[in-house]
């Protein structure tokens, strides 16, 4: 097939497509949307797995009140669930002093501001957290003074609440939005650079700030206790919600697991975080599979519609095919018309899929970030793109061939008779 013939075929394609703009646009959009959903589920799934794995920010274990390990991870690492109970301060001390533990950071929760969790912690958190890069504060920011009512806020928390350096706010009781406001007023002294982890959706204050928050009562063997502002809280009154941990090695992890989870019943040692997260992702795998299957059905529907258009168009264009045969066009040209149309429309659907999936990913990433702090943006080249790039024009071409089989068999005289 020479360049002149190809030029003629493209001319016929463009002119005929011009007469069927609306149905063609709908078919291409339908197939493209299906493709976009397929690409999005694959890419978002991969990015989510990667983001979930990085969410631990360098901590590979959590010690929290007795519950399921997953509950400990969801509350201690992802801050998606409230802590179900507190641990005595002694538990933190035991962990900090344990030679099998490399890093131990206490956190305490229970309050929020406009739905964003407020966590009390030690300033040491900012020196050890972050993997592979340490957490950083934005310009003019500083860490909170452990003895003052000061806060460092994550980037998503800042965006969602509108809080900025120098702003004051009152924490509200409870994890949900609309809780009763505490009298304590906090000053924002630091805003974190985005980390892409759940920490971005947290307001960090000193640990003692949580313990001394007005209205908070600490539990002791002698009953409820409200600390006096001027006196130090005795160690046996101190409490934490969880301890974020970095275990020295795997054997230490196994040993601690045995000690806390099998031999002991005082708390849950959730380790390793990555395996627990993977189990969640795995449990949700069927959702991804169903979404992907539905997306492929949408692709199929789009291509089915495309088939109907090409098939119908050929029947309407018998006169055109007859003319081509009378001027010496071979059968191969007749079958090339639907093949080329299918391939070009399929390629267009592929382009639509590629463009739309980017839009979908941006929307999904924004939503996930605002809900969890996890960063699903970015992501490198995915081999699925190559598959789609090849598959769409190929499928289009194949359905074109299928639609054109009848036309291929028509004799020129039959075409003339049918077009007459």
């Amino acid at each position: 097939m020479n360049a002149r013939v190809l030029k003629t075929l493209f001319l016929l394609l463009v002119r005929d497509a011009g007469r069927r703009k609306l149905p063609l646009a709908i078919a291409i959009l339908a197939a493209g949307l299906g493709g976009a959903l397929v690409l999005s589920t694959i890419a978002a799934g991969a990015r989510a797995r990667s983001a979930f794995n990085a969410a631990g920010a360098g901590f590979d274990a959590v010690l929290a009140a007795r519950s399921s390990p997953l509950q400990c991870v969801l509350s201690g690492i992802f801050h998606l669930e409230p802590f179900i109970a507190n641990l005595p301060w002694d538990f933190y001390v035991r962990m900090a002093d344990d030679p099998r533990i490399e890093v131990a950071i206490p956190i305490a929760g229970g309050d929020s501001y406009e739905g964003i969790p407020i966590l009390g912690t030690d300033a040491a958190l900012f020196e050890v957290a972050g993997e592979p890069e340490r957490w950083r504060l934005s310009r003019n920011s500083r860490l909170f003074d452990p003895l003052r009512r000061e806060a460092v806020i994550g980037s998503v928390a800042a965006a969602e609440t509108g809080l900025n350096l120098g702003d004051h706010f009152h924490p509200a009781h409870g994890p949900e939005e609309g809780g009763e406001e505490h009298d304590d007023e906090y000053l924002v002294v630091g805003v974190m650079e985005p980390t892409g982890s759940p920490a971005d959706r947290v307001i960090w204050i000193p640990l003692e700030g949580v313990l001394r928050m007005s209205g908070h009562m600490l539990q002791s063997p002698d009953g409820a206790y409200a600390p006096d502002p001027d006196e130090e809280i005795p160690d046996d009154m101190m409490q934490v919600s969880a301890v974020l941990l970095r275990v020295r090695d795997t054997s230490s992890g196994f040993s601690l697991d045995q000690e806390w989870n099998r031999d002991g019943r005082d708390a849950t040692f959730a380790w390793p975080v990555t395996r627990l997260v993977a189990s969640v992702v795995q449990r949700l795998g069927w959702v991804e599979a169903v979404l992907r299957a539905l997306s492929w059905f949408t692709v199929l529907a789009g291509f089915g519609f495309l088939f109907a258009i090409v098939h119908h168009s050929l029947r309407e264009r018998r006169g055109e095919l007859a003319t081509l045969r009378t001027v010496g066009a071979p059968r191969s040209v007749v079958i090339s018309i639907p093949f080329l149309e299918g391939a070009v429309f399929g390629a267009l659907a592929g382009l639509v899929a590629y463009a739309l999936h980017h839009v979908i990913l941006v929307i999904v990433a924004r939503y996930v970030r605002s809900e969890t702090g996890l960063d699903l943006s970015g992501g490198g080249f995915d081999p699925t793109y190559v598959t789609v790039a090849a598959l769409f024009p190929l499928c289009g071409g194949l359905i074109g061939l299928l639609a054109g089989l009848g036309a291929y068999r028509w004799q020129p005289t039959e075409l003339l008779r049918r077009s007459g």
Partner: protein
């Protein structure tokens, strides 16, 4: 001889419903000759043209084109023959409505082994439709469309032009004018012309007219 037909028969179906449509003992056409075959509709005239153009194979007999038996050629060879040596004008002109006048004429060059694109402009000018070159054909009158069909048939400089009911949509005056134009242009291009028509005005224009019912011994409907 440009065309020589010997003992030609075309039949459709098989016994006992076999229907002979064309039964022609002999027919010849010399280079540059112009012949009109007249006869009533539905008596096999178009089928005869399809045989001459290689679009249909006979059930018996031979069609020789410049001494070459075309019914024994492969389909691809017959396609090439049509592309380079035979121009066809059909009833209803068979123009592509969504293409312009020029694009319709150029279509015939897409499959030509040695195309001469400059002939497109020359023919459009000769036929008086060069000003319509960029217009879609469905904006033209019947007469103008017929001229486009003539230009497309002749643009490949064929040795033979086959015209099937070329005046089907025209009144007597316009039909006469169209026959005259077809004859003149074919003569200028040194192409033989064979027109089949039920339009009796052809007898007034063509010097050589033949009666299809005398030529064809078959009487079945085509």
């Amino acid at each position: 001889m440009l065309i020589e037909v010997l003992d030609l028969e075309v039949a459709f179906g098989s016994n006992p419903e076999r229907r002979v449509v064309v039964d022609l003992p002999r027919f010849t056409l010399a280079p540059g000759e112009a012949v009109a075959i007249t006869g009533p509709s539905g008596t096999g005239k178009s089928t005869f043209l399809h045989l001459l153009s290689g679009m249909l194979r006979p059930t018996r007999g031979q069609v020789l084109f410049m001494g070459q038996q075309i019914d024994t050629l492969s389909e691809r060879e017959r396609d090439r023959l049509r592309a380079s040596k035979i121009g066809l004008i059909h009833q209803g002109s068979l123009l592509l409505r969504h293409l312009t006048v020029r694009e319709n004429v150029e279509l015939a060059l897409a499959f030509h082994p040695e195309p001469r694109p400059e002939r497109v402009g020359l023919l459009l000018r000769r036929l008086g439709i060069d000003a319509r070159g960029r217009q879609k054909v469905d904006t033209l009158s019947f007469g103008e469309r017929q001229r486009v069909a003539i230009a497309r048939a002749l643009v490949g400089a064929p040795s033979l032009v086959l015209a099937d009911e070329p005046t089907a949509s025209l009144d007597a005056e316009n039909a006469r004018a169209a026959f005259h134009l077809l004859l003149e242009v074919a003569r200028e291009e040194n192409a033989a012309l064979l027109a089949v028509t039920h339009d009796l005005t052809a007898r007034e224009v063509f010097a050589d007219t033949r009666d299809w019912l005398t030529l064809n011994r078959a009487r079945g409907d085509a």
